[in-house]
Symmetry: C2
Subunit: 493 residues, 2 copies
């Protein structure tokens, strides 16, 4: 019964990818009802004349993220400068039943901000103040437009940092919105564990502090956990305008290293064994030979073209030596090369910049292409199987699919460079991606570890939670946004 | 405006404590409409004849937790043995609009399970299977009735443990329900960070897996974070029947120590300085001289009766020595005594058993009394002020108030032993408690770090979130439990 109803609700993967590519076109967005002049004028009154634009260039820039999803421009772009303005715009859109899409750095990978139903895009990047830093309490409060690199530059002299690092220089509230993570999650957790409070504007313009006004405690049992309801809600439940974030002390010392392996299995087995020994790794990242090749070309490196691990150890100098020694032995047992060390700051920064630039490096393999990214995450004991099988799927499909991942968390990506104008190519890649996700789900995993659902993984979300789970999420959505104005068409169909 | 409306909604603190003590009496629970025979028979059909009891002894045992809140027995107690039974009982209660209160170990401290509106108490402690342990993935899955000590005994030979440790041997799903923590939270976080997935029965009997069926990944961005919506919801949104929990490796080596100080300020200043130096403490617990005296008597110890810190260091032997040395210097700078070391396992266990038994030790100061516990939590830089002021409030009120806390998280308790039959005494203690909570809230803190809201802190929750925040929580409650059957009268008025 359940299976049958599921099939009715969701188009098959193959069908979907076809429809999908057609559906999210510029034309589709233009088919929605035109905005009234009154609405545009009201917008101007709220945010100021200079902060409203209907120019096609501005709309197109706000109609796509960094992914392969075809641009779907909003009908108008407004730039907010305060929470009062965000609240006013929400109230206006809610009254007029017009879609409202919050826009940050535009660096998402699942089409999360594409305006597939038209409406108002609200760019919040002008709200970019760092409001407070409490070094003695290891926390800070930022407005929504502050990016992670801006924050870390600002913190430079405090001995503290905010470690969550998706590759891009994303806005911190955008990172809240997708529950982002990155290479440091194995040590510091994801956004979920590092956001203490948020100011959120609801669909009807009400403003709440998710953990209570000014609250910034390390723990709380006071009422429902609204903070974590909004973290990862992808702009569908409210617009995040401020975040209170946990900071961490910069480790006393750190060293990084690269080592290479004969095959993927050996590299992944090494990761699993290192984690199972309880070694507190700062970072442990996997790159297959295709990714290494892409890095060498894009970042002008000369690493051995083979499946590799990028490792980082941090802590006191003593513990660092101890841990590196144990990991070195595990690497050797799996037939890995000696460590190539990056000890001084410049070398380490170069290594991690190379790693963070990998999305762009992979795209440079096929100039003009855009990334279709997979994002499966599984319990680490199931990682070798998923990685090895995925590689087979990629090879069988005959596509370029560099593989790279936060294997310490059981999470990895294939960054397929795809030609957006070629539906057959997108279909082929989509099929591989769905096969990987289904395998991961079968092995107690998820289709998305850190990118979110957006447009691209809605059918997989349904598979992952089943009808009842999705029903509950949709009930929550209905409660928080009864008119369905907030980022419509995302997360759910 | 806001202030005026608040006053209308919430009775003043003093009024409340009086009403409160009268209201939650045995008689009050008996004034609700009697259950129909049909309902009791239906219950018997669902869980079996032997699993339903209306005996007063059983009802009274299920009408109170360990706190001062006067027993409010349910009208009937049912014992569930499977999720199907829990679901059946929920459906039945929902159809009949009868309150349904899930019951675990009964070790809460805020009257969370008192049946103030009568109804069915569903005891889930017979569901006590450890369903899976995945040592290689550092996770396990348990049924709702498994307690934390049972789990840790079971894990003994794996080298793993589940570190969250409220003093009592609570059921793990009860710990999910209140978002419990304890002495190890400073290192391992609270339940919020250590629950990966839960099976939850909703008010209408639907069953969901909050992170998707069988999902047990270290991270996920798939859909709304239902897991953390239910963690800390105190039985008001659903009944937790299974939990998938993160496990941790037992540290290579650990040592504990006690040191004493001339005054409270010095002890708390030491804590703040240790944390601000970024020392990775395993535990750092504060006990004032009244608590130390209670421990000496109850646990037959001979500690110096003075404000003290119980400390634990863990990790590699080398890092342990380094950290202990730095902390030793900070202690000395604040005029603290030398460490009294507990190095072997038995000594360490004795020390931490003493700490975990402190609630009972405090009650033994006034035999026959029950605990009224405060639970404020503030950013650590504000901790000295709140602790010192609180001590003044206690002294001014002339009551016995031993003070003890997880100061590494900025969280501490005063365990007032109160005579349940003396409303004046409860009023005096309640006033001190409210003053402490208001001060904490003013200093960016919360009224509850780990005990939850239950019956006792509903007015403070309203103060903490303001009307809009509470409105949003109540909208969520209304969505998940439209007939208001789940643990009514808790968290909100």
């Amino acid at each position: 019964m359940f299976r049958r109803r599921l099939t009715n609700v969701v188009p098959a993967a193959v069908k979907f990818s076809h429809q999908h590519n057609k559906f999210f076109s510029v034309e589709a967005a233009q088919r929605v009802a035109p905005l009234t002049d009154g609405l545009v004028q009201s917008l101007q009154r709220i945010v100021g004349n200079n902060n409203v634009s209907q120019a096609m260039a501005v709309r197109e820039q706000h109609g796509k993220d960094e992914s392969y999803h075809v641009c779907a421009p909003p009908q108008v772009v407004a730039f907010a400068e305060s929470v009062e303005q965000v609240s006013g715009v929400a109230r206006l859109c809610n009254e007029h039943r017009v879609p409202l899409i919050p826009f940050g750095s535009g660096t998402g990978l699942e089409g999360g901000i594409n305006a597939i139903k038209g409406g108002v895009c609200l760019d919040v990047m002008k709200m970019d103040k760092i409001l407070a830093v409490h070094p003695e309490d290891f926390d800070c409060q930022v407005e929504c437009g502050v990016t992670r690199k801006t924050l870390n530059n600002y913190l430079r002299d405090t001995g503290l940092w905010f470690p969550i690092d998706p590759g891009a220089d994303a806005s911190l509230c955008g990172m809240c919105s997708t529950s982002a993570s990155g290479t440091n999650a194995v040590r510091y957790g994801t956004m979920r564990e590092n956001v203490m409070n948020m100011e959120v504007v609801l669909a009807d313009g009400r403003v709440i502090d998710t953990a209570g006004k000014d609250r910034r405690t390390r723990k709380t049992s006071a009422g429902y956990n609204l903070t974590n309801l909004f973290v990862g809600s992808e702009g569908t439940l409210g617009i995040i305008t401020k975040a209170t974030l946990r900071l961490h002390g910069i480790p006393e010392s750190s060293v990084s290293a690269v080592c290479s392996f004969e095959d993927i299995q050996a590299a992944v087995d090494t990761t699993v064994q290192v984690l199972q020994c309880g070694i507190p790794m700062a970072r442990i990242e996997f790159l297959d030979e295709v990714s290494i090749d892409a890095c060498n070309k894009y970042s002008n490196m000369d690493m051995r073209v083979a499946p590799s691990l990028f490792l980082e150890f941090s802590g006191s100098p003593k513990s660092l030596d101890d841990n590196a020694e144990i990991v070195g032995e595990i690497v050797k047992m799996n037939g890995g090369s000696d460590f190539k060390w990056a000890t001084d700051v410049d070398e380490r920064n170069l290594l991690w910049k190379t790693r963070h630039d990998i999305l762009y490096a992979c795209m440079a393999l096929r100039p003009g292409c855009k990334p279709y990214s997979t994002d499966v995450c599984v319990p680490i004991s199931n990682l070798p199987k998923v990685v090895v099988e995925s590689k087979k799927y990629i090879d069988e499909a005959g596509v370029i699919g560099p593989m790279v991942g936060h294997v310490g968390d059981g999470n990895f990506h294939v960054f397929f460079p795809v030609d957006q104008s070629n539906p057959d190519e997108i279909k082929t890649v989509h099929d591989v991606s769905v096969k990987m996700a289904l395998l991961a789900q079968e092995l107690d995993g998820t289709c998305t570890g850190e990118h979110g659902i957006g447009l691209g993984k809605r059918e997989l979300l349904l598979k992952e939670f089943g009808e009842t789970g999705i029903e509950v999420m949709q009930q929550l959505k209905q409660t928080m946004d009864p008119n369905g104005i907030l980022n419509p068409g995302k997360v759910f169909f």
